[in-house]
Amino acid sequence: MAEENQNGKNGNRVSLLQRVKAGMKEDVESLKTDLPAKAKEQIDGLKDPTKTQVYTSIFRHKHDDTPRNRALGVLSNVFLHLHPAKINRDAVRYSYTWGMGGITFYLFIVLTFTGVLLMFYYHPSKIQAFRDVLYLEHDVPFGKLLRNMHRWAAHLMVIAVWLHMFRVFLTGSYKKPREFNWNVGVILLVLTLLLSFTGYLLPDDQLGFWAVTVGTNMARATPLLGHEGPFGPLLHMTPYNDVRFGLLGGSIVDANALLRSYIWHCIGIPIVASIFMIVHFWRVRKDGGISGPAPVMLASEVKEKR
């Protein structure tokens, strides 16, 4: 037909206008029928949001209660995947682990959160520090609660780490193959205490000042490296070049000590501790998960190496 039209012979030639009209009619028709149909289909689809592309891109598996999905719920979640899918049925008993490792970690998170909020209000300088704490206590909304929570969570964390170490010892969980993780733990213990200690000075009050003075005075007596320590004077140690000077950034607890404390407390140690925690949790898994409750072994069953 197109050819005929072109040739202009005996054709019922359709005018351009008519063709356009017909086309538009079709378009309008499709708006009337297709659009509502599509809309209906898609609204129906929304009634089951788990079918949307957004949803399936976030959640990578179904959630009906099947063993497979329970496992996937843990394994496909970045925060939960440190856990295995299944564990020893008695390992979930509170009486075995006392939950202390987990509680320590949770307190660390609480401390990070409250600590960041405190940082918004705190300047690590001799002029401002104490006033900032007063300001927090009296003017900042919930500032007192914030400071209290940070303080008590820190104390609780120290207690929780000790109890965690205690239970790890009592259950013999440091034995093969977990020797290395016990050592990572010891480092975490030291870091926890150091975190607590560096934070003590920050309010810049009498309590912190004298606690840190007492604490760092001991560094004077470091053998070889302290100016009052054994052999220190032989190595030409003075109050102005020994380890204590390095710790405090001066020969007395003053502005530099405050700044150093602050940086160790808010940046240095938290980063190092986080790294060690990552290794710690990773090793718990790699060492075969929680050590027990394991079947008891009898003395007669020990195979002695010869």
Binding site: P67, V74, L80, A85, I87, D90, V92, G99, G102, I103, Y106, F130, L134, R147, N148, M149, R151, H155, L156, V158, I159, R167, F169, L170, T171, G172, K175, K176, R178, W182, V186, L193, S196, F197, D204, Q206, L207, F209, W210, A211, V214, G215, N217, A219, A221, T222, P223, G226, G229, V253, P293, A294, P295, V296, M297, L298, A299, V302, E304, K305
Partner: protein
């Protein structure tokens, strides 16, 4: 009895954690002990009946054939973790609402706090300052504690008792740890917190802190008691005493260890054995030095021009 004084100490905000630590520790010792007793009873049964040892699932908790050995982490573990997080949060909230963090006067180098105390978790080390010079209490001891903890897995050669609470199979290890943790660490902290007052003097709980109290204590050094005067002789004498302690003490411990722990003794290499002996003797030396000081007012045992012990 000065209840007011006692209350002031126990309710000082930064001391509250220690007041809380004591019942917590008691509870967890009880919890561990209870499970250890149950396991030990099971071990006893299994040891006497080989038939049972073959079929038993070897845990103190009930188990029936057909039960699953493993459970899903979700929900069985995660629900406990979430619950624990909620409980900890609530406890922390209540604590933070009811008790304020301490804030003293602004730092003032010219106004000494008396007593000037380290944070409570370091009070054990501060207490050691009474008996030892700062380079030992403040530097050597923390280092030894850290190293000592780190070597534990490498010197404990006992393969039994991994993954369950027991006393019977690990008497020596657990006894030593309890001595170190409870007596040498926690008890010293409690003394430092509740008993040490102004001038780091000993005030019984409930005794009023007397800021002017002076104690005339004449401390002597061990060499003086033997009438040794020359510096060289003092140094040699001290070295002999300290060396003698490690040798004689080591011998006694050796005699005991190989009698009561023959298997561990056989399993241990010479290096493991000497490291263990060193740490054991050093731990035992602390209460001995404290005794010397408290009972006979002896300050130093070993005096040299560079350091005193």
């Amino acid at each position: 009895m000065d209840w007011r004084q006692l209350w002031d100490i126990a309710s000082a905000p930064d001391n509250v954690p220690i007041v809380g630590l004591m019942p917590l520790l008691a509870f967890y010792i009880y919890l561990g002990w209870k499970q250890a007793r149950a396991t030990d009873a099971l071990i006893g049964e299994l040891e006497t009946s080989p038939a049972m040892a073959k079929t038993h699932h070897r845990k103190t908790w009930p188990f029936r054939p057909g039960w699953q050995k493993e459970v899903h982490v979700w929900p069985f573990l995660l629900r406990i973790e979430f619950l624990a997080a909620i409980i900890v949060t609530i406890v922390l909230m209540i604590w933070s609402i009811t008790l304020n963090a301490p804030l003293e006067e602004p730092a003032n180098p010219n106004l000494t706090m008396n007593p000037a105390k380290a944070p409570w978790y370091f009070l054990g080390l501060q207490e050691m300052l009474v008996y030892f010079d700062p380079w030992i209490a403040g530097v050597v001891m923390p280092t030894l504690i850290i190293i000592g903890l780190m070597v534990i897995p490498y010197i404990d050669t006992n393969p039994l008792g991994s993954g369950y609470y027991t006393w019977k199979q690990r008497k020596f290890a657990i006894g030593t740890f309890l001595f170190g943790f409870i007596i040498l660490w926690v008890a010293m902290i409690i003394i430092g917190t509740f008993i040490r007052g102004p001038g780091w003097q000993w005030f019984w709980p409930g005794q009023t802190w007397d800021h002017n109290r002076l104690i005339y204590e004449v401390n002597r050094d061990l060499p003086d008691l033997f009438g040794i005067t020359s510096n060289l002789a003092k140094a040699i004498f001290g070295a002999v005493i300290v060396g003698g302690y490690y040798l004689l003490g080591g011998f006694i411990l050796h005699a005991l260890f190989r009698r009561y722990n023959p298997k561990d003794y056989q399993r241990m290499s010479l290096l493991q054995y000497s490291i263990m002996m060193f740490f054991l003797l050093t731990m035992v030396a602390l209460p001995l030095k404290m005794l010397l000081r408290l009972a006979w007012h002896i300050k130093y045992v070993w005096i040299t021009p560079w350091f005193n012990v």
